[in-house]
Amino acid sequence: MDCEELVSLISGYMDDDIDELMKNMLEEHLRTCEKCTALLHTMEKTVCFSRETNRRRKVPEKLVRKVYYEIRIRYKK
């Protein structure tokens, strides 16, 4: 496997969505290629940072009550 092939498979590898043979070839390439190893690590860190900076927020209780109220007044028979 060369660098170009690895780039096209890297997201599939991160998602564990490539077959075992490709996975082995990709890991073999990573063992000898610093550039692709750096690419993989920085891709993983990008996803990790994106999650960390988008932590769950608490839904405002007032908003939930507002939606309950809207549904009740609009649809109550």
């Binding site: 170009e4 998602d15 900076t53 769950r56 908003l63 939930v64 939606v67 809207e70 649809y75």
Partner: protein, 200 residues
């Protein structure tokens, strides 16, 4: 809540039991609100998405056939509303051609490995601002895939189901979004941008 519990509540709600619908809201509103917030990146739009989603869901309950789970159906409604809002947004959007360029250029460049940057770097508001700005600049159909897959954590198959697109399209958009955002963070962390070179 299990699928059976969810379905039982859906049936009751279909028969006019508003309390059953409120119970469904209780278990799903956190995720719907957060999905809206992450897609639109502000409280006002997240609140609008949540309200529109539940009003639409209640009105359309008779049409819900249970082919997908109730929560997947809600995510689909919420994402569709969010996509409509995203398409009206003003401000910078990265052209799709530029995302393809990130994919092509990564094959030719060298870059430093900044992946050992400590997590406390997250305290850096600058990093958050960069990510917010760049995620926001992704074209709607890319942003929706990135948020659903990489931030919400839905599988490729589930994202395809929510967005009614093929799994291949999800994979392509996810891959290009990740490469583009990685490139933008690389620019932040040093000379690792599109033209960055590892010092000899």
């Amino acid at each position: 809540m299990g699928t059976n519990g969810e379905l039982a509540l859906v049936e009751k709600a279909k028969n006019g039991d508003i309390r059953a619908f409120e119970d469904l809201m209780k278990t799903t509103s956190g995720r719907i609100y957060n999905l809206g917030y992450r897609l639109l990146r502000n409280k006002e739009d997240a609140a609008d998405i949540m309200q529109e989603t539940y009003m639409t869901a209640y009105e359309n309950l008779p049409r819900f056939k249970g082919n997908s789970s109730f929560s997947t159906w809600l995510y689909r409604i919420a994402t569709n509303f969010a996509l409509m809002k995203m398409r009206k947004e003003k401000g910078r959007k990265v052209p799709v051609a530029r995302l393809k360029e990130s994919e092509d250029s990564v094959r030719e460049i060298e870059f430093p490995d900044w992946s050992d940057t400590p997590v406390n770097h997250l305290k850096n508001q600058e990093l958050k601002a960069i990510l917010d700005k760049e995620i926001n600049a992704l074209p709607p159909r890319y942003r929706s895939v990135f948020v659903l897959h990489d931030i919400e954590g839905f599988s490729i198959a589930k994202v395809a189901e929510i967005l009614s697109i093929s799994e291949a399209a999800v994979k392509t958009r996810s891959h290009r979004s990740r490469l583009y955002l990685r490139e933008k963070l690389s620019e932040h962390f040093g000379s690792g941008g599109k033209r960055g070179l590892i010092p000899a």
